[in-house]
Symmetry: C2
Subunit: 463 residues, 2 copies
């Protein structure tokens, strides 16, 4: 299979150009203003799968955005790889912090990406990483190197909680039957330190609304005498963490697994410089739960973060008003044993219970998902590890991530197969932020590594 | 002077129509997008003063929006009344809560205003109340009933802190020389309970910015390990009030005058129903400083209110982001002895001191002003009281207001004259809120009362 490097060299400019076309479509699933763009992106993915050699491609309707399904079945006695990815992207705002428009992709060189990186919303998360799989398939089908069966399931609602994927998967178990699920929607430590994500956090996302008086009031005439919903909201949110930055919701930590000293010692061996971390973010200090390191805080510990807050007058100048309402979007990252639906209920009950009588509170659960841990003593993990060894020349480090792909736990439950998280992005790629990008080296390295996984997994599966 | 009622009856439709024309111009001083409208409003006021009989009218340039000056001097031996008002208005947002567009005035009947009220931004605050004085002047000049000299000073930056009025007044002391300053920019208790405002709170308005990481971050990859500026801002704001709702800024209460039991007993005699107050605002409970009544909390006690807060993702749906920055607009209402500049400094120092090392904080003072108390044993107050008695048939109640007209303390300091606050609006007029309105009865009652003040003040002044 040495020809993969040659094939990439011959086609890499086209590979980049095709991804740029995909990135031009603003498939923001959170904002209904982009509905037509999201649908157009599903068509783009469908066409790409056909061109890459799938025998059967369908745009499967759901109650929300469609799921693009494709397959190439070469022999029912061979194993089947199911590739999952998503064609929707995060909203691009704050737009004014982008150095180039989020949906006009440009290639620029950076310190970390001397061979150039594509800057656009979705470049890494997940259009770029999803498209690697389509290009890897193209290589395997066009050169006769596909060693097993392959199925694709590319959804358009990952960034808003995959609600309709949860609807689709149980209804299509036979269609989706597989021996391993392969996902590239995570990152690795560095281009010279490949890693495989073996843990994901769960998620509970809620929106809260605090209502005080029935209309906006003059802050002079009413100030001091009426509950100001913004003041109250800040008090309520502030009370959700104690002085050690532990979350105060009763029962929140009940299911949290405490890692052994040995496991924590192993984790601490991953290369990490606190100084570099602080410098990269331009912060004087980190901030988190007492008793845990930075790498523990963002992987094995649950969190509660306000993702957005708004209320009152936010325009230019001054307005002396007491707003009628204040709002916040709050998400909790959960560790594998925490049940996201239970946590959502705990949050809602607690938040309602701490509201003073002078306001009304409404907690609206948004979406969520379970955390996940991949075992590393399986043929799935071994195949992935060997694939990285082949393309990177180094054994990848298993690493737990702080991020969430809520659907992964459901896959295991419904489809009874393990998921392998082969991510080729970097932390510095600014996913979910302005100026998201994806290194061209990483993109091509992903395309190179994927066929090796197919090869090794098929070999190990036969044994 | 019985003819004032006749004159109003003959001209009232025109008086309403002229005010409606003035209200159509969106003179929002806080938002530079409305610059041309603010300037056009100054012209409108200038033309109205000419038509009402002023001998000399000028649009006086300042470093900001101009001040419209007008005068009619009939005899240097007679006293001079200086009328102050403002032609700028508060921003209209949240626009979607207006039942009719804020700058398309409509007349509608309400329970409190059975003779109709004009609904528009600025209807009461302060275009309507300011325009009463121009129409009262028209009556006095056109019927030969002007008993003294009159000067007008109408500014365009009251809603943003009157910065350039503070610049203008000390530079124009001779032009502005007067024997009493008359302002209608406050309210009264009810249409059958006339009152005169004898106290105003001071104001300190600031904007705060909390910066965490140098860019928006993925809340999964960084959540729990990096200070979230929104979480931090809520902690910082929450800490500004203690469990008794007292403000925790060191030194904040140092200059606050504690009223005697007698004074508080007198205050408590003003008609007030807590049940009606709660019902009108649709709240289950009031909220404020422990140990004080609602009417004390919003008049003789200082406050700290968040007028606006924003940060992170506030659009539709969900975004799992840790924002780089979070912001709030915060105002403090002050009681007469508190120095607003000192309070601003205390706030800034305290807010910076409570920030954890993991964030950077920037406090930007916006504007402010001193509180004010009008004595009631003066001929100015007596003239006002007699004017209300004549037009309302009842002695007005002296009342301290929670609002602020920051410039009033400066007038006394620079121009050495007392200010009389004759307000004809009602609390329910929703100033600074959606659906601001001004009763037509109140508008005409103001026009009726003002000439009596001129008459009685001139008479008492001669004695």
């Amino acid at each position: 299979m040495n020809s993969i490097k040659t094939y990439i060299n011959e086609h890499k400019n086209r590979f980049v150009d095709e991804l740029i076309e995909l990135l031009k479509i603003p498939s923001v699933s959170a904002d209904s203003a982009y509905k037509n763009d999201v649908l157009q992106t599903a068509n783009f993915v469908s066409e790409s799968l056909k061109k890459a050699g799938c025998d059967k491609v369908e745009i499967c309707e759901t109650p929300g955005y469609p799921i693009v399904y494709g397959e190439k079945i070469i022999d029912k006695n061979l194993p089947t790889v199911l590739v999952y990815g998503h064609y929707d992207v995060q909203p691009a705002d704050p737009i004014n912090l982008w150095e180039s428009p989020p949906f006009k992709p440009v290639v620029k060189k950076t310190e970390i990406h001397p061979e150039g990186a594509i800057f656009a919303r979705g470049a890494c998360d997940d259009k770029g990483q999803m498209f690697m799989h389509i290009k890897a398939l193209e290589y395997m089908t066009s050169t006769g190197n596909l060693p097993c069966n392959v199925k694709f399931m590319i959804e358009g609602e990952e960034e808003v909680g995959s609600k309709n994927l949860s609807w689709f998967v149980p209804r299509n178990k036979e269609k989706l039957a597989n021996d391993v699920i392969l996902i590239s929607d995570t990152g690795m430590i560095a281009n010279d330190i490949p890693s495989i994500t073996t843990g994901l956090r769960g998620l509970s996302y809620v929106e809260v609304e605090v209502t005080g008086p029935n209309r906006d009031l003059h802050s002079g005439l009413y100030g001091g005498a009426v509950a100001n919903p913004i003041n109250i909201l800040t008090k309520m949110i502030a009370s959700l963490h104690d002085e050690n930055n532990r979350i105060t919701i009763p029962g929140f930590y009940d299911a949290v697994e405490e890692l052994s000293t040995l496991e924590r010692t192993e984790m601490a061996k991953a290369p990490f410089s606190l100084e570099n971390y602080k410098n990269a973010l331009d912060i004087d200090d980190v901030h988190g739960e007492k008793g845990y390191t930075t790498n523990e805080r963002n992987s094995i510990r649950p969190t509660l973060d306000v993702n957005g807050i708004w209320g009152g007058y936010t325009g230019e100048g001054a307005k002396t008003v007491i707003a009628s309402k204040a709002f916040a979007k709050i998400s909790m990252r959960l560790v594998p044993n925490q049940n996201w639906e239970k946590i959502t209920t705990l949050f809602k009950n607690h938040f309602e219970s701490i509201a003073p009588k002078s306001v009304k509170v409404n907690v609206k659960p948004h979406h969520g998902g379970q955390g996940y841990v991949t075992p590393i003593d399986t043929i799935e993990y071994q195949a992935a590890s060997k694939a990285y060894e082949k393309s990177f020349g180094k054994t990848p480090i298993p690493q737990r991530s702080g991020g969430s792909i809520p659907i992964v736990a459901l896959f295991e439950q419904e489809l009874k197969s393990k998921t392998i998280l082969m991510g080729f992005g970097l932390d510095s790629d600014a996913i979910h932020s302005p100026n998201e990008h994806f290194g061209i080296w990483n993109y091509l390295k992903g395309i190179e590594t994927i066929p090796y996984f197919y090869q090794y997994f098929t070999e190990l599966f036969k044994k």
